[in-house]
Amino acid sequence: MNRISLAGLSCLALILAACGGSDKADSKDKITVPKDPFPSTYAPYPNPSVFIANATIIDGTGALIEQGGLLIENGKVSAIGKDLSAPGDAKVIDAAGRWVTPGIIDNHSHLGVYPSPGVSAHGDGNEISGPVTAEVWSEHGIWPQDPGFTRALAGGITSLQVLPGSANLFGGRGVTLKNVPSRTVQGMKFPGAPYTLKMACGENPKRVYGYGSGNYPGGSPYSRMGNVAGYRESWIRAADYKRKWEKYEKEGGDAPMRDLELDTLKGVLDGDILVHMHCYRADEMAQVIDISKEFGYKVTAFHHAVESYKIADKLAEYGACSSMWADWWGFKMEAYDGIKENIPMVHKAGACAIVHSDSDIGIQRLNQEAAKAWADGKKIGINIPEEEAWQWLSLNPAKSLGIDGKTGSLVPGKMADVVVWSGNPFSVYTKADQVFVDGALMYDRSDAANRPVMDFELGQPGEGDLK
């Protein structure tokens, strides 16, 4: 009921704003910008109490528990540690020889907006109509029937951020999802997760706009200079928009005309929307940090961040995360300096390191990507315990999405987003046996009844197959 009435109010606000209508009525009649016009309808699925016994547990905060137990009640982590015993009503899973971790969170995915099959009709991830499209939202391009979600689930992904692409300087809003199949995007949205804004540095915007469509010159930006001017001009407009709304909120009068693009940028300046910025080169990240200081916002995470190792100290000081691949490199100039030790070197510098995928294949084995980086660090003397490295996969991405108070580690009271692995997840031979989202068993490798099949794959070759 609450949600319906709130949604109704939002519509009214939209209509009034669209008409330019407003009055000097008192504050309860003031027009506001709706913060959640497409609210989550996700609720945890029924989840009997589960006790996972005899497991090697990586708790996600950096600790390892041998021969540990994990109790899940009411969709939450209820207890974790050694010497726990199962309450009478709990289903017991004997995880002897197996490992348990928090669910993996991928903070860079295009599942749903670039789904499988990758046909032209499905390209909904880049609104390339202009270099600044902060007004678009990735959730409006997501096809919830993307079979890729099920493959990611089989890889232990319990939450993910779906981002617009990196064609634009401002690509639009990203959205954080629970990795549960649903008929609607709203049915996947992570309740209470803040919105994010996708921005992009470097080659992509200038290639798409300056050199796009085979036409040169195309339009601005042609250069990295144009990129930076584009960011700053937009922030100037956003600051002006924010001032107008603040004036209206304080003094009344005519409400400013709603502007979808500036709503999002204002959300960033207000601290409600987190900036996730595609940026490969170290020098560009340093420039972006200065831009953020000029306009008073924060970059939460640099994505791809192939050269973070060159400025890991500066990133630690500023407090931005780096979302990285283990070993991608060379496909364009700004990826030319990629090295295998980027992730451990960023971690060692005390900066926030995240393993991300940006790939419907990579998202299926982010544990392996972390393992490679972990081993490559070890080979050069950066010794990070596995249980500490797991923060790259769960807690750090959760922080970058503003959901670390709710998930990302196995701490009592948090969502029971849990993976039971067949062995050490730092091994290539290990697979996710069972995946729980909010305590509900959403995937079981050994039980076809607990392996979702998307609409698209019904009646097609390999329907319901082990994938």
Binding site: Y309, Y336, M345, I361, A375, G462, L466
Partner: protein
């Protein structure tokens, strides 16, 4: 017996380019995966001389007195891996056209395009691939003007000016969605182009003497197609869909003299018994498990193991980013094991199978007389946390330094208190 510790060899490998070991070398104490009937030998002894394996024996066997000893205790020893399908060394930066020699949509030629003409052993990707334990790369051009991509080659990954290149090791053609689009827009068009081209090759040179052009190919391409059309050269065909694979097998049955292999084959498991009977080998990427296109609807990570179980000769490669990440074939093979393949079969899919498919004599095995492409690993070669400690090509210990390791070493300490990091030269 002169004994040197492995550490000094590794140090030498790091400092010197291609140190030549004059004396015989004995790799002692490792878990040796031979790829031969000798199987895996715990604490084995591999003796190498003049670029060849001299002997492979059990612990306690005699080691030549003059041999330099590489202590591989606690380590694994394997043949150098063979990247069965890559674009390594023919493109430096994919997005920079001038550095990309993989395809030529503006060319008048297709079959005659010889990828080896674009191979650059100095390409950073060659060294990056080598230090992961890959000693040979099969390199293919990419089809762009019609379904014929052109001539592929096999090279070692030494990166030197004397890199061994076996040109025209195979002809690559694209069928399926890609080939259909290139041939004019349909599978029937692709098959028509393919058959007409084979006719042209058969009619070469007589028809061309008269000044006539071919039906599908000009003189240069018709000549280049000759060896494949006569069954003297391997035809490697890109295709995925079960119906396309059946069409290829129908074609192979009607043309028994041709040598055919398939790359891709995401739906190969659906026709695996027939593939096995046909004797057509397959190069597969075990990561591929999404219905990425309508020709890959049946893709599953178990594809490779199911085909292997049916008796198909399987090589494993990483077909995703095959220019810079051909090295990931090893991770792909590990995943094949996680999805049903035996460890031994996955090892074969990186060694003996590609050697067999491409006719690479003396490669892919550690056995008497074999070429000494050998890797000493700090753990199970297929495990993602393992890395090579020694990489040997034809008996020469290779450098494990790459542009990437130099970048890494420059930035290990972010200390610019006295000088900029540009003065740090690892």
């Amino acid at each position: 017996m002169s004994v040197r510790h492995i550490a000094s060899l590794i140090a030498a490998a790091a400092c010197l380019a291609l140190p030549v070991l004059a004396a015989p070398v004995a790799i002692v104490g490792g878990n040796v995966w031979t790829g031969t009937s000798q199987g895996t030998i715990p604490s084995g002894i591999v003796v190498i001389d003049e670029g060849r394996v001299v002997s492979v024996s059990k612990a306690g066997s005699p080691v030549p007195l003059e041999a330099t000893v590489i202590d591989a205790t606690g380590k694994w020893v394997s043949p150098g891996f063979i990247s069965a399908f890559s674009r390594t060394g023919i493109v430096e930066v994919d997005a920079e056209d001038a550095t990309d020699d993989t395809s030529a949509s503006g060319s008048d030629y297709s079959v005659a395009l010889d990828a080896a003409d674009g191979f650059n052993p100095d390409s950073t990707a060659v060294a990056v691939t080598r230090v992961e334990g890959v000693t040979r790369i099969v390199v293919a051009p990419e089809a762009s003007s019609n379904l014929f991509a052109g001539q592929g080659f096999v090279a070692d990954t030494s990166g030197g000016v004397d890199t061994e290149i076996s040109r025209k090791a195979f002809l690559l053609i694209s069928l399926g969605d890609h080939g259909a689009a290139l041939a004019g827009g349909s599978r029937p068009a692709a098959w028509a182009q393919f058959r007409a081209a084979l006719d042209d090759a058969g009619a070469y040179p007589a028809r061309y003497f008269t000044g006539n052009d071919g039906t599908a190919l000009g003189r240069v391409d018709a000549e280049a197609l000759g060896p494949a059309a006569r069954g003297e050269q391997l035809i490697l065909i890109e295709a995925h869909k079960a119906s396309d694979l059946n069409a290829i097998m129908d074609f192979a049955a009607a043309n028994p003299g041709l040598k055919i292999a398939i790359v891709g084959a995401d739906e190969g498991w659906r026709v695996a018994p027939r593939l096995a009977r046909s004797g057509i080998p397959v190069i597969v990427d075990a990561f591929s498990n999404l219905p990425a296109s309508f020709e890959q609807l049946g893709a599953t990570a178990e594809n490779a193991s199911r085909m292997m179980d049916a008796g198909v000769t399987i090589a494993i490669s990483h077909l995703g980013d095959s220019s810079h990440q051909a090295r990931l074939a090893i991770q792909v093979a590990g995943n094949a094991v996680a999805n049903g393949m035996s460890h031994d079969d996955a090892m074969k899919a990186l060694t003996t199978a590609p050697a067999e498919i491409f006719g690479l004599q003396g490669l892919g095995v550690i056995g008497p007389g074999a070429r000494a492409d050998i890797v000493v690993w700090d753990g199970d070669p297929l495990e993602i946390t393992s890395n090579p400690d020694v990489v040997m090509i034809d008996g020469d210990v290779q450098s494990l330094t790459t542009r990437q390791t130099e970048l890494r070493d420059r930035y290990l300490k972010l200390d610019e208190s006295t000088r900029p990091l540009a003065y740090v030269k690892p």
